[in-house]
Symmetry: C2
């Protein structure tokens, strides 16, 4: 039995080709439009964009009007290219760099999660930025911030605090922007690391849908990468874990980040990895969309990035379409032409309950007995996960 699913959304995490996110400091709407033309040209329907928090709120009492205006212009630029927009707010964490304002550092050191003044400041920030961007009809989602759990351990927290922090800010966000998706976003340590102070339940209980970020350098590429079954199915595995952990089993899961990091995925295999990993997730009825990380490479003249970050773009810094982009464009065209056929699934029961036993998360991590069992079963088609 197979039935047709809704075509998922396809997009890119927007990394400006000139000057990375530093370009916010010298905003150039024409350059943004040139980048968005690249993305629209390969058939994408949306971009996820990342303002930089301390440059918008350099003092707890300041929300810079010009910075908001630049963000709104970026959203308009997307609209001009037929792209809808997801906005992330608290950056916060981007490609190994944490952007933090002076009012939470050194003499003013305070945990972003635990400090009450900081939480007041973040509430004001989330409210102001969400309210502003929600005036634009092509904004469809607002995420609290990119992988906010990477702000720990520099900012201390506990599981209870992390959950309350996200819940409170999502409430603020929903009030400010009631008509768009309000979302939480975490790096997959929340799914796999036993002592991590952000729990799987937060990812699946908070916000209007679940977001997952699938990065094969998390250990899975060491299992059998670059084109082994564990590596190619990791995104689908994470979606299934998220789906199994949600109380509502029809809760959608957005594959909000996936990419081809070297050296795990060598350049000559990136097109194939892209095609096969996307084709693997497409039949999953929980899939909301696929958003590639990232739109554009990082200029190698910029220093201090982890080496793999430089080359993650669908496009080079001079706007050349790379092999992964072509592969993704081909898949998109194929899906739009022929749809996606749902496939019959089997079910495996996890050894632990991710809702109630987060301390045992390592038992479902890449390379765990359960994970390998799931990967083997996945060779015969979709495998749902049941919690015990």
């Amino acid at each position: 039995m197979a039935s047709e699913t809704v075509t998922p959304r396809f997009g890119a995490n927007y990394v400006p080709s000139a000057g990375w996110f530093y370009s916010w400091l010298d905003y150039d709407g024409d350059a943004v439009r040139r980048d968005f033309a690249d993305l629209a040209g390969m058939g994408l329907d949306h971009v996820r964009v990342f303002p930089v928090w301390p440059w918008i709120q350099p003092n707890r009492a300041i929300i810079r009007e010009q910075a908001i205006a630049n963000l709104l212009d970026t959203i308009d630029a997307a609209a001009e290219h037929g792209l809808t927009v997801a906005v992330d707010l608290i950056q916060g964490h981007l490609s190994s760099f944490d952007f933090l304002p002076s009012w939470v550092l050194t003499w003013h050191k305070s945990s972003l999660f635990e400090g009450s003044a900081v939480r007041d400041g973040l509430t004001a920030y989330v409210d102001a930025v969400a309210r502003a961007v929600a005036t634009k009809p092509n904004v469809f989602a607002i995420t609290l911030g990119n992988e906010v759990n990477n702000l720990w351990p520099d900012s201390s927290t506990t599981p209870e605090t992390s959950a309350a922090w996200a819940q409170e800010l999502l409430t603020t966000l929903k009030k400010a922007a009631p008509d768009v998706l309000a979302l939480h976003s975490v790096f997959d340590d929340a799914w796999y690391k036993g002592d991590h102070p952000f729990h799987p339940v937060d990812a699946v209980d908070l916000g209007d849908l679940t977001t997952v970020h699938s990065w094969v350098f998390n250990g899975v590429s060491r299992v059998d990468g670059p084109l082994g079954p564990a590596t190619l199915t990791h995104a689908d595995y994470l979606i299934e874990l998220a789906r199994a952990t949600a109380l509502e089993h029809d809760r959608l899961v957005w594959l909000q980040e996936i990419g081809v990091p070297g050296p795990d995925i060598p350049v000559d295999l990136q097109a194939e990895f892209t095609r096969r990993t996307v084709e693997t997730v497409l039949p999953n009825p929980a899939l909301y969309g696929v958003t590639w990380w990232s739109s554009h490479d990082i200029d190698r003249r910029l220093l201090d990035f982890p080496d793999r970050e430089y080359d993650l773009g669908l496009f080079t810094v001079d706007h050349q379409r790379k092999p992964a982009a072509q592969a993704l464009a081909d898949v998109i065209a194929e899906v739009r032409a022929n749809g996606v056929m749902q496939q019959e699934a089997t079910t495996l029961t996890a050894p632990i309950n991710l809702r109630t036993e987060p301390g045992r998360r390592a038992e479902v991590a890449p390379g765990s007995e359960f994970h390998l069992q799931w990967v083997e079963a996945r060779g015969n088609g979709p495998v749902r996960i049941a919690l015990p």
Copy 2:
């Protein structure tokens, strides 16, 4: 015997009236000119200006052209008002806030003093900014950064490392800007705290003259403030300590910061404190100049500053001249009309050698037996300090 000295320079540490240093992010040359008109109007001859490091060098490889252009416009604005300019580079530390780029934080955490990549970055920054501002004929001094020793303990260091760090950057600075004063600047912990990893010898051996910052909240106002002799003579005491510690006894000392912090100096006594403390230092032949902290108050709508920081301005945020400003303007007019008469001095020998026994610095700190002895003697006229 009394002889006339050279008239010292008078200036202000420039704190923008609108938006504090955050205003660099939304640079408004007209607002700067309005502020400088206030300062020129009270007879000042210079301003000390503070670019914010991470906004100029957000990536180790980027020096933002627009940020440099804004800094140059500020220097031009000063020239238009007959003001010369001292530029501080590594901010770094400003009024309790430390501005640090993402490339030295969290995942990239590195001591500004000890990290070799950070030192490379700072060298590039110092070179580029110094080279740019030195093209302006009204720039007379460049300081490495405002009270860089306040960047410790967040950035670890040792006395040897601190000295080598400053020496290396000063060499870079001197090469980039050979015709202006190249200076080092430290908060007075370097003079008074036994275990502080910046030593008095650095202040007096490095750079083209010595800078001191006299803040009576350092303990001296508890001795006899607000108008007691210890409080009123603290600036002169610090100048004498600096003069005594220098190898060259004619090395000039710039009183680069002094102000009227509340609650130590109550509002109704600020004019008198200003007049008397400035009149006390004027006859000191080592005095290069007096630079008030600060030009303008901080808008109370801005949050998280220590309370005393808001009201340190010579002018309010709406350009009203405050009592300390009037007192300073009166002293300046008096000095320009009548000159300054040098006074005969006595000499006291310090109990420790600040060059060789920095671990014993507390023995000359405010409230120490030696300090009180000096203050008593100072009641009869200038008191030089000799090291044993």
